[in-house]
């Protein structure tokens, strides 16, 4: 994966996140700095491990392989790490708690089971200027569908949420990959070779760090 060309972007983008002189009540730091810090990684990794453990316990009884459960647990862990400051994190957390149907019903709306595309058909544009606008709108809507909980957001908020979500996803992928690699390395190596296998990753890690 294109690992994060901007992974070290925390320093250049830090000037952007300087505290405002108190005028804005919530100066959200740009997602690069917020999600790239090492503390977030640690936090998330810990939460992920806990989630995995719990998932394992749960799925022992329920189903054999809970890859979906693992994914959900990982997403929930990610959302929790976000502390509910972003819409998508809230949507993830609350979406799990109470079934989405209930929420929809409470809102008084109809539950649309199948997303009909009747409005999705791109109408013919009058002139090229409008066409471009429609393309952009289409894509914005698609983005809204991708980011959890951001279906009907205005463009500005949607873009903001998307930025946060992308940064969070990158953190998640990074963490999960490291975890999976470490775990598979640990479990693949037989117990006797345990020590030798340990030495190599250690050396590698030291070189890498």
């Amino acid at each position: 994966m294109a690992s994060v060309p901007s992974s070290s972007s925390s320093s250049p983008s830090q000037p952007k996140t300087r505290k405002k002189p108190g005028q804005n009540s919530s100066p959200a730091p740009p997602p690069q700095t917020k999600w790239r810090t090492g503390t977030q990684e640690r936090l998330y990794s810990r939460r992920l491990v806990d989630a995995l453990r719990a998932t394992r316990d749960r799925t022992q009884v329920q189903e054999s392989v809970g890859s979906r459960a693992v994914k959900e647990a990982a997403d929930s862990a990610l959302a929790l790490t976000a502390r509910g400051q972003s819409r998508w994190s809230r949507a993830i957390l609350f979406g799990r708690n109470s079934c989405r149907r209930k929420l929809l019903v409470k809102a008084g709306g109809k539950i649309r089971r199948h997303r009909r595309k009747q409005h999705g058909v791109p109408p013919v544009a009058a002139e090229p200027g409008v066409l471009k606008e429609q393309k952009v709108k289409e894509r914005l809507r698609k983005l809204g569908r991708l980011v959890p909980g951001c279906r009907k957001l205005p463009a500005a908020t949607l873009l903001e949420e998307a930025a946060d979500y992308v940064a969070a996803l990158e953190l998640q992928v990074r963490t999960m990959r490291a975890l999976a690699d470490a775990l598979s390395a640990a479990t693949v190596s037989a117990p006797e070779e345990e020590e030798t296998a340990a030495v190599d990753p250690m050396a590698i890690a030291e070189q890498g760090s």
Partner: protein, 400 residues
């Protein structure tokens, strides 16, 4: 000053007093914009606040002028026309004949992107100006959500990004030509409509553009692409790619899951730093010397139930230590997971701590754990679902 002009709209207490001091009829707009979020009310109040600026500009209180003066001097010294125009201050314009001022104001050499001009202008001014306001200005000028303040700044940015220039325009269409008044109106660039609607739209567009920029930086390879639709395409692809990665990795983890020793993992995590880029078991071992001796029993248990029972004593020692270490990490279970009382096929179970801190979690292990370090975590199996805390350990030991 830049600061007050932008802040005034966005609920800066420091700027408010300036507005209050100057005579203007719309002072109610300022506290309202102060109270509410910018997004909701900016649109409505934009025009109003614009007017406030207009009115207050001739009544510059002396502190304003003091701030403005130092800005004037360095900026007027600059050579380039754009900078000169941008640096052209309030008083400088006043000194010019009106037509000249108009020309200056409507310098057509600006780049088309208002946001860029905005930023460039602000930066240039603030770099040049050593005014007192420059200290807070770096904080103000590149705010993470420039759109917040860009709404007003966009007016300023078009010709004079500088604070000194009062962004102001009458709501009624004094178009570009009207500049004879002593106010300096920062307004639309040449050829742009100046009515309130287009202003609002421009503000909104700038906000969106700023956010798009942020996204572009986040997504690799998007900086080169020009055009909103294509950039959005890239972003969508990237998000889908990341989500697919997550699914794939979760599948991998699910495959690996049944054979993990989580308690050991916790120790590893706390000892290692994931920033190394690689979480390795070996790293953690360096951190906790104890584990090294006991690794074999730890890993031998992986997936195997029977052999572990032999190692109960050594493991119990290790687990006690881990138990203490892991206590900190268990709150999360309480928040979030409702684990049920599942029994573990794998014998060697791990976090005792979970039990101690999560009263409502009904796992069997927790019943077996009373004190943090007192009782080593022991394996439990389906046979003894709920047992009195200490007795369960002994029972299991006896079974072994």
């Amino acid at each position: 000053m830049w600061k007050w002009s932008s802040d005034g709209m966005y609920s800066s207490s420091s700027a408010n007093h300036i507005f209050c001091s100057s005579e203007f009829r719309f002072h109610r707009s300022v506290p309202s914009s102060h109270a509410h979020s910018q997004q909701k009310h900016n649109h409505k109040h934009k025009q109003v606040t614009v007017r406030t600026h207009t009115l207050s500009s001739p009544l510059l209180s002396s502190p304003m002028e003091d701030e403005i003066q130092p800005l004037l001097n360095p900026t007027t010294a600059s050579a380039s026309p754009s900078v000169a125009t941008s640096g052209a201050s309030f008083t400088a314009l006043l000194g010019l004949p009106p037509n000249r001022a108009v020309e200056l104001l409507h310098e057509p050499t600006f780049p088309s992107d208002p946001a860029l001009v905005d930023r460039a202008a602000r930066f240039s001014v603030f770099a040049a100006a050593a005014a007192a306001s420059s200290a807070p200005s770096p904080e103000v000028s590149p705010p993470p959500p420039p759109p917040e303040t860009a709404k007003k700044r966009k007016d300023g940015a078009s010709t004079n990004g500088k604070a000194k220039v009062k962004k102001g325009k009458h709501a009624e269409e004094d178009t570009d030509g009207e500049n004879k008044l002593p106010y300096v109106h920062v307004r639309a660039r040449r050829g742009q409509a100046t009515d309130s609607h287009s202003l609002a739209e421009r503000a909104r567009r700038e906000k969106i553009n700023a956010r798009m920029k942020l996204l572009q930086e986040l997504v690799p390879g998007c900086s080169k692409i020009s055009g909103t639709a294509l950039v959005l395409d890239e972003i969508i692809n990237h998000v889908q790619y990341l989500q697919r990665q997550v699914e794939y990795l979760s599948m991998r983890l699910a495959a690996v899951n049944p054979r993990i020793d989580f308690s050991g993992l916790d120790t590893f995590l706390s000892a290692t730093t994931m920033e190394c880029g690689r979480l390795t078991i070996g790293n953690a071992k360096v951190g906790t010397e104890l584990d090294q001796q006991q690794q074999q029993p730890v890993w031998s248990e992986v997936g195997v139930s029977d052999s572990d029972r032999m190692n109960s004593t050594t493991n119990s020692k290790r687990l006690q230590i881990q138990l203490q270490q892991n206590q900190l990490q268990q709150f999360w279970h309480v928040d979030f997971l409702n684990t049920q009382n599942h029994s573990q096929p794998s014998v060697w179970e791990r976090d005792t701590v979970m039990g101690s801190t999560a009263p409502h979690v009904q796992r069997e292990e927790q019943h077996s754990l009373v004190g943090p370090g007192a009782v080593p975590l022991l394996s439990f199996d389906r046979v003894n679902p709920v047992a009195p805390p200490i007795q369960s350990n002994q029972q299991l030991k006896m079974e072994l």
